[in-house]
Symmetry: C2
Subunit: 274 residues, 2 copies
Amino acid sequence: MNTTSVSHSDLLNASAVEVRTAIRSGAYKGHTAGLAAGKLQCNLAILPQRFALDFLRFCQRNPKPCPVVGVGDTGDPALPTLGGDIDIRTDVAKYRVFRNGALSDEVTDITDEWADDLVTVALGCSFTFENALQRAGIPVRHIETGLNVPMFRSDIDLVPAGRFGGQMVVTMRPIPENQISQAQEISRRYPQAHGAPIAIGDPAEIGIADLSRPDWGDAVEIRAGEVPVYWACGVTPQNVLLDAGLPLCITHSPGHMLIADVAEDAETTILTNQ
Amino acid sequence: MNTTSVSHSDLLNASAVEVRTAIRSGAYKGHTAGLAAGKLQCNLAILPQRFALDFLRFCQRNPKPCPVVGVGDTGDPALPTLGGDIDIRTDVAKYRVFRNGALSDEVTDITDEWADDLVTVALGCSFTFENALQRAGIPVRHIETGLNVPMFRSDIDLVPAGRFGGQMVVTMRPIPENQISQAQEISRRYPQAHGAPIAIGDPAEIGIADLSRPDWGDAVEIRAGEVPVYWACGVTPQNVLLDAGLPLCITHSPGHMLIADVAEDAETTILTNQ
């Protein structure tokens, strides 16, 4: 597009609407960590309507990895409960298009992919509770060190629905032992963002062989006095969708989230209920 | 049925499974207030699959009146995430069967109505936060006086989905002015049970003409120093289903709830995630 491009630092004080506008125009194509502070950021899953009921059942049965924060009408790219002007075809900086269970394209606009039978599901993301941990003075290692959060396939079975099922993906953050109960209490306040930890301590207990070799993201240092703490991860629904082998399914690219107008600490994720 | 009948007081110390068993056998046909203390009780909506996606979208968009706590597979009367042995055809003491938007029958068993295309949706209920208010020493007038909670049609518009929409039904509880912020804080902790109040004070602001004439339930006294406080009500989805004029839809009868094995203060309403 013939648009002046903007950088992540140019957008640090921009509102949610301003960031979405920069993304929509093609001026910004980067990740959204740290942008539109205080606003809810969302994982994205777009799939054909005939799979949507089972996918919503799957999310309801697995609320910690798959907290639903918005669902569009079939064929409608708007998400008015998350933001008045959202057009899901253009308002995410980078999308992944999957066909028959395999990555087909990574694109910055899905207008050409959009179809009358598609349903958008927005899911909460860990940025929300990470911000709350940091505000409480609890260190978040991967942010401090400029890395991606380490993510691992666990052996925790998901509750299946239709063709959707498998095992939970978890993130790991090393937390000082004396701040673990505070970290639990804080993250539990955000059921729309994975809630309280799924497990604490020994990685073998949830089927993780080696914390220094994450399945996605970067390994982070666990210092003396720190304990690995595991939270349900938004990569879970992406993996489950991939394994389901849908003819078409579209997600955001990691780190390139949908930014909503909803406050991340609002009681509900519905604009009109606030 | 040829079963010895049991009374509400016979069941006061019974577990959730024991109460469901008494209901299933036909021995107990009464209301469930105060039974299986500490367990989640649920509103019930059973509808044909072709309406289920829109109904789940409707609930997602209106989480305070319609908090989804369980969804069954199509045609399957089990709800394993709420209780291992639940059979939704027999485990509620009284059901209302609606046909084409009108009450058709009130029955104690829906085995004859069950069909392969039906989907069960369980929704949270106000018993959960009322118990928490009482534990905190906040009076709940209708319980103290042995009445039903007063319920009112408000003018608060719901966010529509498909054929589902309308206005919110609210409950009213008079709360001493100096305990309102505590009541807000406590009920907000239960998003699966209507959450924090929707409105406080003047009934006219939410379209209620006369607090002494509830649309359902009983009027309760508002004493000196007390303020009327309004919460979203589980009658909302029942009303919305009725107005939608579905060919068939089944709900519980007021006060005759589904009792789950899930603790009412659990982080999620999913047995296997706890």
